[in-house]
């Protein structure tokens, strides 16, 4: 049953064209009998038709030219292409590499601190029983990591590679942070839009 309290919502639904036939008839019946609801319907309907009666304003004739000139500039400007690469390729790739560097030698580092101990990661019964075959596979991978680390440690390569990559990552992070601080809006635009 429609009364003046809930008629407002129904009038809006009527203006949206979302009322079914029965609800529409019920609303119009109420509106016929109620002066204040009739006035509301008329006024809101008039406001909507005045708004929709506004003609679209045409953009300047040069709009397409100007936008496409900027698009071309962005597509070909090496500076902008480089920025895109930096954010979309280089940064994620560095992050992935950094993560890998952390994960790969971690098992080996454990081994380094327990010098003189067994060079393989011990297979515990608990691991085997809980994780089964996949646990053993992981164990195998960890042992491979230890072997790789041993080889690199012997040749002294890991220290050099680690220092170089660490320095690169720190420089990259500092650069991105600085660039972000200089223009946060630009960073947001690059990352979100």
């Amino acid at each position: 049953m429609i009364d003046c309290k809930n008629a407002g919502e129904k009038i809006h639904e009527y203006l949206d064209g979302s009322l079914d036939e029965a609800a529409r008839r019920e609303l119009l019946g109420h509106v016929e009998a109620c002066v204040s609801c009739r006035a509301r319907l008329d006024q809101w309907e008039q406001a909507v038709s005045a708004l929709e009666g506004l003609r679209p304003i045409e953009p300047p004739a040069t709009m397409l030219h100007q936008v496409m000139a900027l698009v071309q500039e962005r597509a070909t400007n090496p500076k902008l292409v480089w920025r895109k690469l930096l954010y979309r390729v280089f940064v994620p790739a560095s992050a992935a590499l950094g993560l890998l560097l952390l994960l790969l030698p971690s098992s080996g580092l454990l081994h380094l601190f327990s010098s003189g101990a067994d060079t393989t990661v011990p297979t515990s019964d608990v691991t085997s029983s809980v994780l089964g075959e996949s646990g053993q596979a992981l164990q195998g991978l960890a042992n491979q990591g230890v072997d790789l680390f041993d080889t690199m440690l012997t040749s002294g390569a890991i220290a050099q590679v680690g220092v170089v990559l660490g320095a690169c990552l720190i420089l990259l992070a500092a650069g991105v942070l600085l660039w972000h601080l200089l223009d946060r809006e630009r960073t947001r635009r690059m990352l979100r839009v």
């Binding site: 038709s49 953009p59 709009m63 397409l64 698009v71 839009v193």
Partner: protein
Amino acid sequence: MVSEALGLAGWRLPSLALAGKGDTPNDGVLEPDEVWVERARRHPDAFAELVRRFQSRIYSLTYRMTGNREDARDLTQDAFIRAYDGLSTFRPNGRFSPWLYRIAVNLCLNHLRRRREETDLGEIEYSLRSGTLEEVVENREMEKTVARAILSMPTHYRSPLLLRHISGLSYEEMTQVLDMPLGTVKTRLHRARELLSARLRLEGVEGIG
């Protein structure tokens, strides 16, 4: 011909087809916007078709949001450039138009926030309608009043009102553009209509429509 080489049948390079184009493509075959998004990802020139399709709609929206022609031009340009920059992040199953409207609305809201709602009510432009001189003058006055009433509304009411009644978006599209639940969108739109109606009555507009 480069466009043929790019597989862009029925589409001309922007340098040959820029001036005076409306929102419809030149050959009447309307491919989905998302097809052009895919093309524009590979060939920046193809973005021209999306600009051609949406420039009037986005310009109308930004103009009605700001009430200023210069701002509307800058915001429209910015919206397209940001859309172009973000093409790689555009979801393959998403729809282009709500996404573009969302960029445009957010730009307008940021701009108005920066400008602290100082909308220039003096510089309102009106499109001419055909008819007698009296009708034209009357319509201009009416449009002026309506435009002023829109600009005097808070932006959180202005944007749903314009998206619905100027841009013609559905409620579903509006939820995507405004990033709000359906209930909130409806409540704001309804309140905005009531507010507009009240302001028009204050301006002495009777018997409109």
